[in-house]
């Protein structure tokens, strides 16, 4: 405890990790993130790319549901919109993938803000239902004849993943799959960094305060309506960027890739990884992608049953999510105060 009180002023609000230790973690994290480039062959690397993307989608959901307490069962819709914005711009208008990213983020941010407006009047379960209906509606809208010229209707759209640039291929041998993994990793890392900054400061505290005790939050001068709608916008933006990445990684979008099951599995990922946890979102993404595969490898006939069993085991064994387990282990190892 005494070490905590002696911490330098600026580090007070942030978890107290010394610079040296932070450096070690950074190198370790980079090594874990980059090792698959050499260790995995293309299909498994693709799966890992998708896991990174799902982690980003779960992070988005965690901002609005985990930190701000607004239940969304419809984040698959934002994922779909992000994917389609990128696909349409690349397939129909020949945009470069990178140029579509901010555009996908902006469109999803606006849709998210709009969804956040009725959310102000509807709390809890009602909001869950409204967002759920969004998740059901979006795939159907994407198929709709009025939009068919853009969206390709039921057939969907084909696109190409970004090519590794010449300056990179000239120096190292890198396949498009490896490059796509790198792109997903860099974009996701950037979003994680921004989200981390957001959550640990004034706005993050306000989001959590609004969730914990709205009346007290207002008495602290927090504008609940503004916070909630903006949280929805930011959340949709992040999940939308994940969708955009997935369109490029899969090189194909179709309405049936974004059923409401996607929304539910993002929600499951958030709970299993850790509600209101940035780190937990990483584990959530891994769960979303790999557990259904594991379930299918155990029983081809009834993967849903296996998935259910794995899920129940997770919830019983780790009631605070994987992030809660990591926190406990770190606390025991370091004897630190968390």
């Amino acid at each position: 405890m005494s070490a905590i009180q002696d911490a330098p002023p600026l580090a007070a609000a942030a978890p107290r990790v010394s610079t040296a230790r932070r450096g070690v973690w950074l190198v370790l994290g980079l090594a874990v993130a980059l090792a698959p480039l050499w260790l995995l062959e293309s299909f498994h690397l693709f799966q890992l790319t998708m896991a990174v993307i799902m982690s980003l989608a779960v992070l988005g959901l965690n901002i609005v549901t985990g930190y701000n307490g607004q239940i969304s069962l419809g984040h698959g819709a934002f994922f779909a919109i992000g994917a389609y914005v990128t696909a349409i711009l690349m397939a129909q208008a020949d945009w470069s993938f990178y140029a579509t990213l901010p555009f996908a983020a902006a469109v999803c941010g606006m849709v998210g803000y709009a969804v956040g407006l009725p959310a102000l009047r509807l709390g809890g379960l009602y909001l869950a239902l409204v967002t759920f209906s969004l998740a059901v509606a979006v795939p159907q809208l994407l198929k709709h004849r009025a939009l068919e010229d853009w969206t390709g209707g039921v057939q969907g759209l084909f696109l190409m993943k970004p090519e590794p640039p010449a300056w990179l291929t000239a120096r190292v041998a890198i396949t498009p799959d490896q490059f796509m993994y790198l792109v997903a990793l860099v974009v996701a890392a950037l979003c994680y960094l921004l989200a981390w900054n957001l959550i640990r400061g004034r706005i993050g505290r306000a989001l959590m305060a609004t969730r914990d005790h709205p009346t007290a939050a207002e008495a602290m001068g927090m504008d609940i309506a503004a916070l909630k709608t903006r949280a929805f916008a930011v959340s949709a933006m992040i999940t939308g960027v994940a969708g955009a990445l997935s369109a490029a990684a899969v090189e194909f979008v179709a309405p049936d890739s974004f059923t409401f099951l996607l929304s539910i599995s993002l929600f499951v990922g958030m709970v299993v990884g850790g509600v209101a946890s940035i780190l937990g979102s990483v584990f959530g993404g891994l769960f979303v992608l790999f557990v259904p595969n594991i379930a299918e490898s155990i029983s081809r006939a009834a993967p849903g049953v296996i998935y259910g069993i794995i899920l129940i085991v997770f919830l019983f064994a780790l009631p605070e999510g994987v992030a809660g387990l990591v926190r406990r282990v770190l606390a025991r190892l370091g004897g630190r105060s968390h």
Partner: protein, 252 residues
């Protein structure tokens, strides 16, 4: 005036709290203290009348605008942010002192950093002042009631309010803790430039710390003055002790 259905909860009450004054609001159960408190803190909108704060009419104003004006408050049954530590709770109180939004925070722009550093500094001072050093980084839910009350006080003070509204601060505290609270009020008023409006059942605390006392009964103001004046007011004695006692108590 506030009516609930046909019942007038509070009517025709008017009083002032001067700068740097501690004003106690007392009255028997059902006198309308909490209703009046909720009107002042913006939870209720009165059907008639207005609340003025430093020249601004605050009645009908959105609640989140009150804190930036300089109105801080605590709650009767504690309203801490349960998922947070003591320090985080106190820092949350600094919200109205800052202005950095989503973008500035996500990018950690210099403005956001400066605000955060200033809030950190003030939180540290308050943690020290309210003797919360030992528990500063503990989750607030793990703490005893009296300590949580101090956290709430620190959270209200960090935004440097000009008027602090305290809703039954002594509720649930034991004798020793009430004494400490009385000292704390004096100390807070000496070191912060603020006035305090205190709604309180605990009569001896109110009489000890207040510069001025307002007494309510049945939604009406029945007395207003120094603690001594209010204590000896026949109306107040009648309200608290009933009719038969008024003469006797006054004589004594």
């Amino acid at each position: 005036m506030v009516r609930f259905g046909g019942v007038t909860a509070v009517g025709g009450v008017s009083f002032d709290v001067a700068e740097r004054q501690i004003c106690g609001l007392i009255g028997p159960n059902g006198a309308g203290k909490t209703t009046l408190f909720n009107v002042i803190s913006g939870i209720y909108r009165p059907q008639e009348g207005q609340v003025r704060f430093a020249g601004t009419v605050t009645t009908g104003m959105p609640r989140h605008r009150m804190a930036p004006l300089g109105l801080g408050r605590t709650f009767q049954n504690l309203a801490l942010f349960k998922s947070m530590t003591v320090r985080e709770n106190i820092l949350a109180g600094a919200h109205s002192a800052g202005s950095a939004g989503f973008l500035a925070n996500a990018l950690r722009l210099p403005r956001a950093r400066a605000e955060e550093a200033a809030a950190d500094r003030r939180a540290r001072e308050l943690i020290h002042l309210l003797q919360l050093d030992a528990v500063a980084d503990k989750p607030v839910v793990d703490l005893p009631f009296g300590t949580q009350k101090r956290v709430e006080m620190a959270r209200a003070l960090i935004s440097q309010p000009k008027l602090l509204l305290l809703d039954e601060p002594a509720g649930g505290l034991n004798h020793g803790e009430v004494d400490e609270l009385a000292e704390l009020f004096q100390h807070v008023r000496r070191s912060f430039d603020l006035a305090i409006l205190l709604v309180e059942h605990h009569m001896s605390l109110v009489m000890r710390v207040s510069d001025k006392v307002v007494a309510l009964d049945f939604g009406k103001k029945i007395a207003d003055g120094t603690p001594d004046e209010v204590r000896s007011s026949p109306e107040v004695i009648r309200a608290y002790l009933g009719d038969g006692h008024a003469e006797a108590a006054h004589a004594a």
